[in-house]
């Protein structure tokens, strides 16, 4: 029989990895951040089991781990309070497929929250409810941010078509 960790936490690994990859733009760093977040989750699995939203907790931990990695990577850059993960400028080295480059170019234009919601919906295929659980925000916020992200996508497409 599967434990709570095996049944509810471990299967999130792929989604968490792609979220971290989106933030960090580097596979190895993303994998490390996910591993560290899962190690924390493992050490607190009994506490996690009692939480209403363990996924939200895990995403927050992953975000912190990713921020820490960015700080380690850009030690010479002074990060201001509340600076966003989306401010990582460069595109992933491996995004050499034009289609993937297009996605990353678009995502870079979005604010962090919209990036996350857009990814969870379009890449992971989550419902509004699941996204609100992942990010610990209301369904209304999910809908509003997704609407804005898609409007930005519409403009982005128009701009690309004109080129």
């Amino acid at each position: 029989m599967k434990t709570f960790f095996e049944a509810s936490i471990w299967p999130l690994r792929g989604k968490l990895y792609r979220m971290a990859y989106l933030w960090l733009k580097d596979r190895d760093n993303a994998e490390d951040a996910v591993q560290e977040a899962l190690e924390k989750a493992w050490s607190k699995r009994e506490m996690l089991q009692k939480l209403d939203n363990p996924t939200g907790w895990l995403v927050r931990v992953l975000k912190n781990q990713s921020l820490q990695k960015i700080r380690e990577h850009k030690r010479w850059t002074v990060l201001r309070e509340g600076e966003e993960l989306s401010e990582v400028e460069e595109l992933p080295a491996e995004a050499d497929s034009p289609a993937l480059q297009l996605v990353f170019r678009f995502l870079k234009e979005l604010p962090e929250k919209q990036q996350e919601i857009f990814q969870l919906r379009e890449v992971e295929g989550l419902t509004y409810e699941e996204i609100s659980e992942y990010l610990g925000i209301s369904m209304e916020q999910v809908k509003v941010n997704l609407f804005r992200a898609r409007k930005s996508l519409q403009l982005f497409m128009l701009k690309n078509q004109k080129r």
């Binding site: 434990t3 497929s97 993937l100 297009l102 996605v103 379009e122 295929g125 898609r150 078509q161």
Partner: protein, 142 residues
């Protein structure tokens, strides 16, 4: 098909599509001509979805040491150490006993040295007893 895609795209950009409609839109875009940018974008999303971390097994409870296992391990260690100390103590006492016995043996051997050469002195007990040896007194009386 084009009208269907346009209608779905309009709904999509307004954020009004369901997950099923979004799936249908993606599938139509991949099958139809035109909408190059949109198709490329959705292919990019598919490529992002295909990115997976390296395969790893989940950690298991068996891999960690539980409290009772720690207590049992400490008890076994303490028991083992106690047994070892007692065993060492016994061996030490045995060694000391054996050394004392060897020392006694050595003393005994050393004390015996030269005693054979003194064997002749045993005969000296007869020095004042010549009368007994030769029964002189009895002969004189006779």
């Amino acid at each position: 098909m084009k009208e269907k895609i346009e209608a779905l795209l309009a709904k999509y950009y307004e954020g009004d599509t369901t997950l099923a409609e979004e799936k249908e839109l993606k599938s139509l875009l991949l099958r139809s001509g035109g909408f190059e940018e949109e198709r490329r974008f959705f292919l990019g999303l598919d490529a992002l979805r295909a990115i997976e971390p390296s395969a790893k097994p989940p950690p298991r409870s068996g891999a960690t040491i539980r409290l009772w296992q720690k207590v049992a391990a400490v008890l076994v260690l303490c028991g083992g150490l106690s047994w070892w100390f007692i065993d060492q103590q016994i061996k030490k006492e045995e060694r000391a006993y054996s050394q004392v016995m060897q020392a006694f043996d050595m003393i005994q051997q050393n004390m015996r040295k030269g005693t054979t050469s003194l064997g002749a002195l045993k005969e000296m007990r007869h020095l004042n007893k010549t009368d007994e040896l030769f029964n002189i007194n009895n002969q004189e009386e006779q």
